[in-house]
C-alpha cells in the first residue's frame, strides 16, 4: 500500500469537519478502552500492571535474540512440514505468493486479516495476476467492497455506521434492505461461506511464531482464520520477522494479554496453534503450508533506538486511547497503521520526511504507553522522530504553531526534548488560561493526570496552524 501520510494535514482537516465520523470513532474507542481496562485489571490493578511488565519482558527477550530465534523457528517449522520463505521487501512478498499460487494452480484466494498483506499491497498484486481474492474478516470484507483501506488494525470499519454498511450490502450484494445487524452478518456469512468452500488458497497473517516448536499462532473471533487455514488446499501465512517468541510459556502469556488489550476478551474465540500442514491420516487441513517471514523495513529498525517498536503485538489499545485518533479517525494517517503505533511505525517503515506530519499527530499525553500491554514507550519515540526531523533539516511543526520562542533550543537534543515537551504542555493549557509548572518533566507528569487536555492541545495547535496556513494562502 502506498503511503498517503504526506497528506495527513488535509486528511485530518476533512475528518475534523466530519462530526458523525468523530462520534462513531469516539463511541467505538471509548467502549474498547473501557473493556480493555476491565479485562486487564480483572484481578486487580497490581496484577494487571505485573502482567504488562511480564509481557514486556517476554517481547524484549525475544527481540534480544531475534536472529537466533528466527533460525530456530525456521528449523522447527520446516521439521513440522512447513515451507519457510524469506522476503526482504513488499515486492518479494508478492512474488513469493504469486509463485506459490502458480505452483499450486490457484485461481481463488480467501484471506483472513493480515496487516502485512496491507503493507505490501498483496491484493492488488494478486488481482493483477488474474487471481480472485476475497477478504473474509467481516470488517475487511466490508472495506474491500467499499474500496477503502482499513481505519483501525483490530476493528477496520470502525469509521462506518450500520446504515452505511447496509447501503453497501444492498448496492453491491443485492441484500434485501434491513437494519438488523445480525441479519446483515448472516447475509455476509452466506456469501463468504461459498467462497471458503471454493477457494484454492487461504492467506493469513500470524500473531506469533513459537521458536521452540515451530508453531504458527493466530487469534481470531469470527472463525474465518480457521476457515482459511482448514479448507483451502494451500495455506500461506505472512508474518513479520519480529513476531517470533522463544517458548510456549512466553506465547501462553502473550496470547492472553493480546485479546485483553485489544477487545477486553479474556481469550479470543479462536486461539489457534498450527504445527504444519495436514498430517498422514488427518481428514482435513491444507496439503501445503508456507510461512513467509517478512522484513519490509523491520531489520533496519532493529539496531536503532526505535527497536522497541518491534515488540508491538498489534492490539490496538494505544489507538483506542489516543485523543488524536479519536479526532481524526484512522484514514488520515495515510498508511496501514493508524494512531500512536502508526505515527511511529509509518515514518520508520516508509519514509520519515514523507510522513513528517505523523510524529506531530500526538499531544504526548502518555496514554498510549500507559495502556500498551508490552509497555512500549511511544511518546519517547514520537519525540525522537521529531528530533530526527530537525536533524534532517525539517522544520518542526511546533514552530508553525506559534511556538517560535522555543526554536533556539532545538539545536540541542536535550533542550529540544525539554522544549518540545514544555511547548506541548503550554499549547494545551494556555488557551484556557491555566497554569502548571513548566519545568519540563514536572509539567509532563502533571499533564498525564489530565488526559482531556490532550485533545485541547491538539485542537489549539490545529487552530493555530490553520490560521498560519490561511495567512499563507492569502499572501
Amino acid at each position: 500500500m502506498r503511503s498517503q501520510a504526506a497528506k495527513f494535514v488535509a486528511a485530518a482537516r476533512r475528518a475534523l469537519a466530519d462530526p458523525p465520523l468523530q462520534d462513531a470513532v469516539k463511541r467505538a474507542t471509548d467502549t474498547a478502552a473501557r473493556k480493555r481496562d476491565l479485562a486487564m485489571f480483572a484481578h486487580g490493578r497490581d496484577h494487571g500492571e505485573a502482567l504488562r511488565q511480564q509481557a514486556a519482558a517476554a517481547r524484549r527477550r525475544a527481540l534480544s535474540r531475534l536472529p537466533e530465534l528466527l533460525e530456530q523457528a525456521e528449523a522447527h517449522l520446516t521439521a513440522n512440514g512447513a515451507t519457510v520463505l524469506w522476503a526482504a521487501d513488499a515486492a518479494e512478498v508478492c512474488a513469493h505468493v504469486l509463485d506459490i499460487a502458480a505452483r499450486h494452480h490457484v485461481r481463488r484466494v480467501t484471506k483472513s486479516k493480515s496487516m502485512v498483506s496491507e503493507e505490501v499491497g498483496l491484493n492488488d498484486a494478486l488481482a493483477e495476476a488474474g487471481i480472485e481474492v476475497l477478504e473474509t474478516d467481516l470488517g475487511e470484507y466490508i472495506i474491500q467492497l467499499a474500496g477503502e483501506p482499513p481505519s483501525h488494525i483490530v476493528t477496520p470499519v470502525i469509521h462506518k455506521s450500520k446504515e452505511a454498511i447496509r447501503d453497501l450490502f444492498v448496492q453491491r450484494l443485492g441484500m434485501p434492505p434491513t437494519d438488523d445487524a445480525p441479519t446483515m452478518a448472516r447475509f455476509a456469512r452466506g456469501h463468504l461461506r461459498a467462497a471458503f468452500l471454493s477457494s484454492d488458497m487461504g492467506i493469513s497473517g500470524g500473531n506469533f511464531i513459537i521458536a521452540e516448536t515451530g508453531t504458527l499462532c493466530l487469534v481470531t473471533n469470527e472463525g474465518n482464520g480457521r476457515m482459511v487455514t482448514a479448507l483451502p488446499r494451500v495455506h500461506v501465512a505472512l508474518v513479520g520477522i519480529e513476531k517470533v517468541v522463544a517458548t510456549l510459556e512466553e506465547y501462553v502469556l502473550l496470547t492472553q494479554v493480546l485479546p485483553r488489550s485489544a477487545t477486553g476478551q479474556a481469550m479470543a474465540v479462536y486461539t489457534h496453534m498450527i504445527n504444519g500442514p495436514r498430517r498422514a491420516g488427518e481428514p482435513d487441513g491444507p496439503e501445503a503450508l508456507y510461512v513467509v517471514l517478512v522484513d519490509n523495513g523491520r531489520s533496519a529498525i532493529y539496531g536503532t533506538s526505535y527497536a522497541e517498536v518491534l515488540g508491538c503485538i498489534r492490539c490496538g489499545a494505544c489507538i483506542n486511547a489516543c485523543p488524536i485518533y479519536e479526532a481524526t479517525g484512522g484514514h488520515a494517517y495515510g498508511w496501514v497503521y493508524p494512531g500512536p503505533i502508526g505515527a511511529v511505525l509509518t515514518p520508520l517503515l516508509t519514509d520519515l520526511k514523507d510522513a513528517s506530519a505523523l510524529p506531530h499527530a500526538s499531544s504526548l499525553c502518555g496514554k498510549c504507553k500507559e495502556v500498551c500491554p508490552v509497555d512500549i514507550d511511544l511518546p519517547r519515540m514520537l519525540l525522537d522522530l521529531r528530533y530526527d526531523l530537525v536533524e534532517a533539516g525539517h522544520m518542526p511543526w511546533l514552530w508553525d504553531a506559534g511556538m517560535r520562542a522555543w526554536s533556539t533550543a532545538t539545536r540541542s537534543p536535550r533542550l529540544f526534548h525539554s522544549a518540545a515537551r514544555a511547548a506541548q504542555i503550554g499549547q494545551g493549557l494556555l488557551p484556557q488560561g491555566r497554569k502548571v509548572p513548566l519545568g519540563p518533566l514536572g509539567g509532563w507528569s502533571a499533564s498525564r493526570e489530565l488526559p482531556r487536555f490532550a485533545r485541547q492541545s491538539f485542537r489549539a495547535w490545529w487552530a493555530a496552524r490553520n490560521q498560519e496556513e490561511d495567512r499563507h494562502d492569502q499572501s
Binding site: 517476554a58 473471533n221 479470543a268
Partner: protein, 217 residues
C-alpha cells in the same frame, strides 16, 4: 546473497536491543483461579463458559448426556461427528442410530450440528482445547451452526498455564503431532457492524458443552 542471508546478517550486525533483559522467572498466571479443587473447577468452567454465551449441561450419568445431545439435534436427520472413540460418551453411536440420525461426511456444509470431544478444558476462561488428528476433523467444530462438545470433568484444568504444564509433561512431540490445536472460547462472533455483538459470524453461533461429572465412579 539470498534475502534470508541479508536479513539475518543485518540483524546480527546490529547492536542487540534489550540485551540486559533478565531470563524469565516464575510466570504469574494471566487468569488465576482461586480454588483448584475438581468440583470448584467444574463450577468455574461452567460459569465462565455461560458468560461467553455457551450452554453448559452438567450431567452425572450417560443417559442425561445423551438426552441433552439428542435434544440439540432435534428433528435433524444428519450430524457431523468425530469418530466415536474420541468422544467420551460410549453410548453415543448407538443412541444416534436408534434416533435415526446419520453421521455425514465432515465436509458436508449443509449439516446444522457438529459433535466433538475435547482434549482439555480451561476453567478460568470457559475454553475448550481441541487438537486435530485422525478421526478428529477440524471442520466438525467449524462448519456447522451448532457445535456440541463433550468433555469429562477431569479434563478441566485451571487455566492455559496449567494446560501448558500438561503439554510439557507429555512431551512436545505429542503437541507437534497435531497439525492444528485450537482453543475455543465461546461461539464465533463479530462486532464489526457498529460494535454490536453478533454470534455465529463464520463458525458456530451456538456452543453446547456437555460436562460428564463422575460417570466412572
Amino acid at each position: 546473497m539470498t534475502s534470508r542471508e541479508t536479513i539475518l546478517a543485518r540483524l546480527r550486525a546490529a547492536r542487540r536491543p534489550f540485551a540486559d533483559t533478565p531470563p524469565p522467572g516464575d510466570y504469574l498466571p494471566v487468569a488465576p483461579v482461586d480454588d483448584e479443587r475438581p468440583a470448584a473447577l467444574v463450577e468455574h468452567f461452567a460459569a465462565r463458559a455461560e458468560a461467553l454465551n455457551c450452554t453448559v449441561y452438567r450431567c452425572t450419568d450417560e443417559r442425561a448426556a445423551l438426552a441433552a445431545i439428542l435434544d440439540v439435534i432435534g428433528a435433524d436427520r444428519q450430524v457431523l461427528c468425530w469418530d466415536f472413540a474420541h468422544i467420551p460418551l460410549p453410548g453415543l453411536g448407538a443412541a444416534l442410530a436408534r434416533a435415526g440420525v446419520a453421521v455425514a461426511p465432515p465436509s458436508d456444509p449443509s449439516v446444522r450440528v457438529g459433535i466433538t470431544g475435547a482434549d482439555a478444558a480451561l476453567a478460568a476462561t470457559g475454553s475448550l482445547v481441541i487438537a486435530s488428528g485422525p478421526g478428529k476433523p477440524r471442520q466438525v467444530s467449524l462448519l456447522p451452526l451448532v457445535h456440541v462438545a463433550v468433555v469429562r470433568a477431569d479434563q478441566i484444568v485451571p487455566h492455559l498455564e496449567a494446560w501448558l504444564a500438561t503439554v510439557r509433561a507429555r512431551g512436545l512431540d505429542a503437541f507437534q503431532a497435531a497439525s492444528s490445536t485450537v482453543i475455543i472460547s465461546g461461539p464465533s462472533r463479530t462486532a464489526d457492524i457498529a460494535m454490536e455483538l453478533i454470534l455465529g459470524m463464520h463458525g458456530p453461533g451456538e456452543l453446547h458443552i456437555v460436562v460428564l461429572e463422575d460417570t466412572s465412579a
